[in-house]
Amino acid sequence: MTSDAPKALGQSLLQKSLRKFRRDKFGMAALAVVAVFGLIALGVKAGLFCTLDQATTPVGDQFVKPFAAYERRLPDGTRAKAVSVFGTDIQGRDVFTKLVYSIKQAFAIGLIVSVLSVLVGVVLGCISGYFGGIVDDALLWVYTAINSVPFILWIISISYAFGRGFTGVVVALACTFWVGVYFNVRSEVHRLKEMEFVLASESYGASKWSIIFRDIVPNLTHLIFVFLSLDFIAAVKNEVLLSFLGLGIAGEPSWGVMIANARLDLLAGKWWEVTGATVLLFILVMAFNMLTDALQDAFDPKKVG
């Protein structure tokens, strides 16, 4: 018996996981980066800075270089000397404002898609795994059909059928991403439902729904965290892809729209818009990838001692 054994005894799995997560330097750094991006997204959403209006109105001549002096158009129509932060785009809009506004876009898409797909995946996975029978067969059939085709085909077809725009992107991504969550939850439920604590609840006469929500779902925490993180970043990356293919968000800036539209500007030597969007996307994806790894390490019950 080591001296810290009694301390460990009094801790729940969640507490242990959180402690392990807090010790993970890379995980905490990644979480900090995500939190900074998240705060900026909240600020934009609340209308504190970089509003849609500011991101879509021209502020000066087209293609002002980054950190260069230029004449800034003020809202009242007058002009004032200013130094550009990250230049202007082809229509003279401020690239920095567009980049910051796009953080909100990325978080909106990432959050909605990840929450929707995890919710649907967990609920259907529990039903399928716990009840089995014909419902399980039917859901598994849908899963196989969706999973055996490259996701990009579903995403393109669905967003085409729904019409271009924010809703189309979100629906297309959520409709395809849930299957990954579903299948993993289903196999985990299969495993959990044979365990003693579930059998005990059953013998006490607990209702099936109470067993699912009180006994099984809490044991899916690690899957839920990991998939929220995975699907968030997959959604952000796929938005870029869809915008590039001309099926993304319309009328508002987003990293995907910026990269897709500014790729011809690059050939004319105007590198800043496409570079800015690429770098921000890179940082966010990197942070989320590291966060996913850290969550997997900290919350998987098999890895928590």
Binding site: W141, V142, T144, A145, I146, S148, V149, P150, F151, I152, L153, W154, I156, S157, I158, Y160, A161, F162, G163, K237, V240, L241, F244, L245, G246, L247, G256, I259, A260, R263, L266, L267, V274, A277, T278, L281, F282, I283, V285, M286, N289, M290
Partner: protein, 316 residues
């Protein structure tokens, strides 16, 4: 073995049935009425009724589905309004360029990734290992779209501006040797983007294998590094390698969409996206369905191959 193959082939039927129903629901139930796309907003009611009748859209949904399936099964795929070509010919001609753009890259990066994975696993925790892991993590965070744009700019566009011999900026020519210069850069790009994911995966697989007892025994017998890696470990991780390459097929398809549309290569992805831009509804539906069939068939064939390679895969 033969019964196993037959059973695997039979299992494709319900899957493809499900795919066809989903495709039908997406395009015929959720999607816009294609009649408005063809006739515009100012069509007369008579025109709408007659075109609906011509396209068979006035029939009940299940009849429409069955008619579509009958066309698909008899290869009566119809005519593309936008490309002015039979859809079947468009599809057949698109397969070649699509494979040329993706398959060499897939083989190249799978090979490199397996090699790097083995190297990392053997010298685990050393500087080489850390360098590769950090590199792979960075590579995973790169956006495919951005890599494409910058690779074209720096490797094809800038050199040609300076008058240097380099990759063609865009384009494609048919023919086994004539297409080579055009597919080189796209393949390098998909290789670069996928390398991070695969290296990480194969490293994890190889690390697990290196911890097994037979490796320790081989070391104790004094077997050299190369013998352990290539003779023992590589053979034992063949199954995850094959499965991983199969899993990569969807990734290859999405890569081909991006690469073909960016480098103007007339493969399946390019044609499908062109059809989307011109709202050529029959082409979109047929291509989606046919690509799905190709992928399901490829998966099944890979499963059968896997069962032949590994005697442990249960055939029952």
């Amino acid at each position: 073995m033969i019964t196993y193959i037959l059973r695997r082939l039979a299992a494709m039927v319900p899957t493809l049935l499900g795919v066809s129903i989903l495709v039908f629901v997406i395009f015929n139930v959720v999607g816009d009425d294609p009649v408005y796309l063809y006739l515009g907003k100012n069509a007369s009611p008579e025109q709408i009724v007659s075109l609906r009748h011509e396209l068979g859209l006035d029939k009940p949904l299940h009849v429409q589905y069955l008619v579509g399936m009958k066309q698909l099964l008899t290869f009566d795929l119809g005519f593309s309004m936008s490309a002015k070509e039979p859809i079947a010919r468009m599809f057949v001609q698109g397969i070649g360029p699509s494979i040329a753009v993706t398959l060499p890259g897939l083989m190249l990066y799978s090979g490199i990734a397996v090699l790097l994975g083995l190297v990392c696993a053997y010298w685990r925790g050393t500087l080489i290992d850390k360098f590769v892991v950090v590199g792979a993590t960075c590579g995973m965070a790169l956006s495919f779209v951005a890599v494409m744009i910058f690779a074209q700019y720096f490797l094809a566009f800038l050199p040609s501006q300076k008058g240097l011999q380099s990759f063609p900026i865009t384009g494609y020519e048919r023919g086994f040797f004539t297409c080579l210069p055009y597919i080189l850069l796209p393949n390098l790009i998909s290789c670069f983007v996928a390398l991070g994911y695969d290296t990480r995966f194969f490293r994890a697989v190889a690390v697990e294998e290196m911890n097994k007892e037979y490796v320790r025994t081989a070391k104790a017998y004094g077997a050299g590094t190369r013998v352990i890696l290539l003779k023992h470990v590589l053979k034992n991780i063949m199954i995850p390698i094959i499965s991983r390459v199969v899993v990569a097929i969807p990734f290859v398809v999405s890569g081909s969409f991006l690469l073909e549309s960016f480098f103007v290569i007339p493969g399946l992805g390019y044609k499908l996206l062109h059809a989307i831009e011109s709202a050529d509804y029959p082409v979109i539906r047929t291509f989606t369905m046919l690509i799905a069939v190709l992928v399901v068939v490829a998966n099944t064939v890979a499963d059968i191959l896997n069962s032949m390679v590994d005697p442990r895969v249960k055939l029952s």
